[in-house]
């Protein structure tokens, strides 16, 4: 039994979500290698080698893998899959594109978006948009798995001494190529992996008022989130939506401002370690899950909170 963890990265640094995939690999119990596919990604390989417990780091450094396009990545992984009983990747957009192809190429099913590991062949995953949790077993010879990154803590890193080996069998399928890349510029942390998230809901009232939420987020160096109601009302774009049909997050601190706490929103953030709620309705369901709650008008309270934080942070 041996596991291959596919690294998520931007050719410069290893993304922390890879460490969530490593945690899942550790639970599976077998020794694990990390596969880094990219272009000019030597620094990422160095970081991967430092992950505690990693046996080897395989690097496929090739033009065809610069953007980790699905066809080339899947074919390259197929060429390197021999000997592994488990292939595990964080459930990012890139991996959700490539792994199913890999599974199909290997003739096995994919076990997607797992939130738990019960053994080397038994996994836990949400189904029906998270309304039910399924425990599934696979009898495939190779288990191809994507991991819901908010469900696993980051594995420890720093003490690892993996051996870095270059592999020379990167595959260029020649089927598609990346023409250009437009990266959404944000100085704020990314919502899915941030340790603090400040979210605004319908109670914020308008696009202009959302600036209050943004100011608080900036003060806390937090990512910016929103409930579906706020997005539908046009206060902010839907890439900030947290909830059953938005992003699922589990930060250390989640501040819900003007959010009622309907279960569809809770589905996206109830895994947060500490939840703070500010709402003018004392009966809002959010208070049932909040660790700290403040009842009052957010238009007064949020600026007050931000000012107080300014003096201590």
């Amino acid at each position: 039994m041996k596991t291959l963890v596919i690294a998520s990265h931007n050719n410069a640094t290893l993304s922390p979500v890879t460490l969530a995939a490593v945690s899942a690999a550790l639970k599976i119990g077998a020794s694990f290698d990390i596969f880094v596919a990219g272009k000019g990604c030597a620094a990422v390989a160095e970081e991967a080698a430092k992950v505690d417990g990693v046996s080897a780091v395989l690097v496929a450094d090739h033009d065809a893998l610069a953007y980790q396009g699905a066809e080339n990545l899947a074919a390259t992984l197929q060429a390197n899959a021999e000997g592994y009983s488990h292939i595990v990747a964080p459930a990012t957009s890139v991996m959700k594109d490539a792994l199913p192809r890999l599974a199909a190429l290997l003739g096995v099913g994919q076990i997607s978006d797992i939130t738990g590991v019960n053994g080397e062949a038994e996994f836990v995953r949400p189904i029906y948009a998270g309304n039910a949790i399924a425990t599934v077993t696979s009898s495939d010879a190779v288990k191809v798995i994507t991991v819901r990154t908010s469900a696993f803590d980051a594995a420890p890193t720093g003490a690892g001494t993996g051996a870095i080996t270059a592999v020379d069998n990167a595959v260029d399928c020649g089927l598609s190529r990346v023409v250009s890349e437009e990266i959404a510029q944000s100085e704020r942390p990314e919502l899915a992996s941030a340790s603090i998230v400040v979210s605004g809901g319908r109670g914020v009232g308008s696009e202009e008022n959302f600036a209050l939420i943004e100011k608080l987020a900036d003060r806390l160096n937090a990512a910016l989130g929103a409930s579906r109601a706020a997005v539908d009302a046009g206060f902010i774009g839907n890439d900030h939506q947290v909830g059953q049909t938005g992003k699922i997050v589990a930060p250390d601190l989640y501040v819900a401002v003007g959010i009622s706490g309907a279960i569809q929103h809770l589905a996206g953030m109830q895994g947060s370690k500490v939840i703070v709620a500010i709402n003018k309705d004392p009966d809002a369901p959010i208070y049932e899950v909040a660790d700290y709650g403040l009842v009052g008008d957010l238009h007064d309270l949020v600026p007050e909170l931000e000012a107080k934080l300014a003096s201590v942070l």
């Binding site: 029906y128 948009a129 009232g205 009302a233 839907n238 059953q244 049909t245 309907a262 279960i263 369901p285």
Partner: protein
């Protein structure tokens, strides 16, 4: 951007909806074709992600049609459901008192000996298995978006919906155009207020000689209850509280298998008071001791709602049109006196199959005509509708007590022969009266144990729609909700929708009508009940909507 061209496939028969009527038609066609040595290609389109996902019913069924279609269903090992052991009927006097009706006072149509408490969703899943074994092709996750007409105005198939269209209406990255499913005969089995059926009835004026169709909204929850409170096979029906004077409807409580009970409330959609919230009526019903004594300490597993076609024979449209026919609740085959529609729906599908087989390969194919109407009128299903034609109108006209008494008389004393012809000619949507003419209803807050809020209810219907798609609920005039419905009726959509799709919110000082299409559980109540008839339900992208388990 170059969009791919639409492809087409040809079948002999296309059936819209993998419900009891559509699947029965599919099975019957294949069985009869095999017997007659004919080769007939049949396909069934189903908008739910899997067969059964959108099937929502009480239900206690008579096995008459199933016995005809698959005579050895029991021997073959199909576990249909829980046989009925006992019937009880109650009149709820107020929030704590009830009177049980003695057996003799209950109209015979409501006795359930030899019937079964079933999950119609699971029945459909089993029918689908039989259908596939017989060679029917079933396509779940595909909507029939529109009808296709040939140059002579005959229906020659349906167009499936496009997938991957963005919320702005433009093709998104995953855009796949729908396909044209061409067929000699199209069977419409979409259930109550099917959007294609609605359009076809209008286009061919199929309802010109009928009374307006009448509808109810049916709510249901499945609860897992403590063993001591579970009486397998017990069927409870009743009426009265909490429905106020002038509101038709009744509740049901069925003790099914696996320590589960099916509890629900049906409310006629001809109610006049715009402040009524059918959802809240259902939630408070559960606090009545007759219901609470079964549910207390239990766990709510599923919630949902669906509109019901209950107009009976007087509202039945002509069933055939050039190129096809309407079956099941799309037509209106529910026998209201028994509150059962599954057996008659199945039978109507089977008769449609017979009619098509008779016509296929003859000159009739050119015009797409069959003997369906005549064959249906000779069937026991039609006879049931004929015998019960006054049941609904009696209750509408005379209220539950006198109406019930009238029905009892008609059935018990006059042997089921209708005495008079009672007409019910006012459309349900036209019955709504101004908000100013009624007192606002102060519904109790949900207690989180027996009663719950709307959003957490929608949550357990497992409803999901692809995020980035156009809103499937179309307003003919976008100003009507705020400019007309709000001042006149306090925009009742906020209340009659069982899923919280419609909201009136204040944004930048102005009132706005917000449509949360994502919450839609495909019940069709808004299409029926909007006093302005301004809302048209169209299918969202295939595969979306609720995912009901064993409803």
């Amino acid at each position: 951007m170059d969009t791919p061209e639409r492809e087409s496939i040809e079948f002999d028969v296309v059936i819209v909806g993998a419900g009891p009527s559509g699947l029965s038609a599919a099975c019957q066609i294949k069985k009869q074709a095999a017997e007659q040595g004919k080769e007939v290609n049949v396909c069934v389109l189903e908008k739910g992600a899997e067969v059964g996902a959108h099937i929502f019913s009480g239900a206690v069924i008579e096995t008459k049609a199933l016995d005809e279609l698959f005579p050895t269903w029991k021997e073959d090992g199909f576990a249909l459901g829980q046989p009925v052991a006992k019937d009880e009927v109650y009149l709820l006097r107020d929030e704590s008192r009830a009177t049980e009706l003695p057996h003799w006072a209950v109209p015979p149509s409501m006795h359930n000996d030899n019937n079964y408490i079933v999950s119609v969703a699971n029945l459909c899943r089993w029918l689908a298995e039989q259908a596939e074994e017989l060679g029917v092709e079933i396509f779940p996750g595909f909507t029939a978006a529109d009808v296709i007409f040939d140059d002579n105005g005959k229906v020659c198939g349906v167009a499936t919906g496009d997938m991957g269209v963005g919320a702005d209406g433009e093709p998104g990255p995953g855009y796949t155009p729908g396909m044209d499913i061409l067929a000699k005969y199209t069977i419409l089995g979409e259930g109550c207020r099917g959007h294609i059926g609605k359009g076809i009835i209008k286009k061919f004026a199929l309802d010109s000689d009928a009374d307006p169709q009448h509808y109810g909204i049916g709510f249901k929850e499945i609860w897992q209850v403590p063993e001591s409170q579970h009486k397998p096979g017990l069927v409870v029906h009743g009426s009265g509280w909490p429905l106020s004077k002038g509101m038709g409807g009744g509740f049901f409580l069925y003790h099914a298998e696996n320590q589960q009970v099916f509890v629900g409330l049906i409310i006629d959609l001809n109610y006049a008071n715009p402040h009524v919230s059918p959802f809240d009526e259902f939630q408070r019903l559960k606090h009545h001791p007759i219901i609470a004594e079964t549910l207390s300490g239990g766990e709510r597993i599923t919630y949902g709602a669906r509109a019901i076609t209950k107009g009976g024979l007087n509202a039945l449209p002509k069933l055939s049109f050039p190129g096809g026919m309407l079956v099941g609740c799309d037509a209106g085959t529910l026998n209201f006196s028994k509150i059962k529609g599954v057996h008659t729906a199945m039978k109507s599908g089977m008769i449609a199959a017979d009619a098509i087989l008779e016509a296929l390969g003859t000159d009739a194919d050119e015009k797409g005509t069959t003997n369906f109407q005549q064959l249906f009128e000779q069937s026991w299903a039609y006879q049931e509708l004929y015998n019960s034609r006054n049941f609904g109108p009696a209750l509408h006209k005379f209220g539950p007590i006198v109406g019930g008494g009238y029905n009892w008389m008609e059935q018990k004393i006059f042997g089921g022969k209708p005495l008079l012809k009672l007409r019910d000619s006012k459309e349900d949507y036209a019955c709504m009266e101004p908000a100013s003419a009624h007192i606002k209803i102060d519904y109790p807050k949900p207690d989180g144990k027996l009663s719950f809020d709307k959003l957490s209810s929608v949550y357990i219907s497992n409803t999901y729609h692809e995020e980035d798609q156009p809103c499937h609920l179309k307003l003919t005039d976008t100003s009507i909700p705020i400019k007309q419905n709000l001042p006149r009726f306090d925009e009742p959509a906020q209340r009659y929708c069982p899923a919280g799709v419609y909201e009136v919110v204040e944004s930048d000082g102005e009132m706005q009508f917000q449509i949360n299409g994502q919450n839609c559980i495909h019940c069709k109540t808004c299409d029926i009940k909007d006093p302005a008839q301004n809302i048209t339900w169209r299918p969202p992208e295939g595969g979306g909507g609720p995912t009901y388990p064993n409803t």
